[in-house]
């Protein structure tokens, strides 16, 4: 079985994604976690591109890597956190359950995925040009999902107001 260019791309990006995701959950300094997550996001954007979801890939870069994660990093920097002495929660029994449940989720989901058959992506089918697929996406968003789209807009507005209100609270867990 020879590796095509696309395969190499996939394995590379997937490797980076998994390694950096491991970095997120294992590193004790939250800033490194955040930077690892940024790397994950970028490689996920690459994976989207490899699935010819160009627009989504671009948005992934803009929204996740460019905005959300920067926010995380900024907040962490403002908090000036050092590497944590104890990064993980206490409790051996619950720890066992936690890891076990995650493993079970992986086992079941991964098992189901691998049973889903060999749905190879063939070359030509369904690779619309980036322009066309973007237009199709826009069509869906502004016609079929118009209401959800508008609702999202409302949600973001409320969230923005809520976040501002939250962060203006002067100390304490109760607003006064």
């Amino acid at each position: 079985m020879s590796l095509s260019l696309n395969d190499i791309l996939f394995y590379f990006l997937a490797g980076v994604a998994v390694l950096s995701a491991l970095g997120v959950i294992l590193q004790s300094n939250p800033i490194y976690c955040a930077l690892s997550l940024a790397l994950t996001m970028v490689s996920v954007a690459g994976l989207f591109a490899s699935l010819s979801a160009w627009f989504v890939a671009g948005v992934q870069l803009i929204v996740y890597a460019g905005a959300v994660l920067v926010l995380f990093v900024m907040v962490l920097m403002l908090f000036d956190t050092k590497a944590e002495k104890r990064a993980f929660s206490k409790g051996i029994v619950s720890g066992f359950f936690k890891i076990a449940s995650a493993a079970m989720i992986f086992a079941i989901a991964g098992g189901a995925a691998s049973m889903s058959g060999d749905a190879r992506f063939s070359k030509l089918t369904g690779i619309a040009s980036a322009t066309q697929s973007t237009k199709d996406l826009a069509d869906l968003l502004f016609k079929k999902y118009l209401f959800s789209f508008e609702a999202m807009g409302a949600l973001l507005l409320f969230i923005a107001i809520g976040a501002v209100a939250l962060s203006r609270i002067q100390g304490g867990t109760h607003a006064d």
Binding site: V24, I25, L51, D118, F121, I169
Partner: protein, 112 residues
Amino acid sequence: MPTSAVVVDSISSVGLNHYLILSAILFSLGVVGVLMRRNIIVILMSIELMLNAVNIAFVAFSRSLQNMDGQAMVFFVMTIAAAEAAVGLALATTIFKKFREVNIRYFEHLKG
């Protein structure tokens, strides 16, 4: 018509299940992060990781089924994720102001 720089090869051996398994791995890592970490911001990041894993599955299915709806969903997931991050960070900031630390156990104060 512009052409894509990356050409998907005809003999590609990577298929839907590869992406799904990758998605499952990332999701489980996110679960571990949420369950195990003590820093609330890292927990938030783990949630983002889980959402990303789901996005990968969405896009892969969208490609496999030749249906753009999956990508539209990704769009919504991203919006929700951004919103969630904003509120989560605002909460974390509030907690930090009070305790100078962002440990998850401070949220136990929310217990009724």
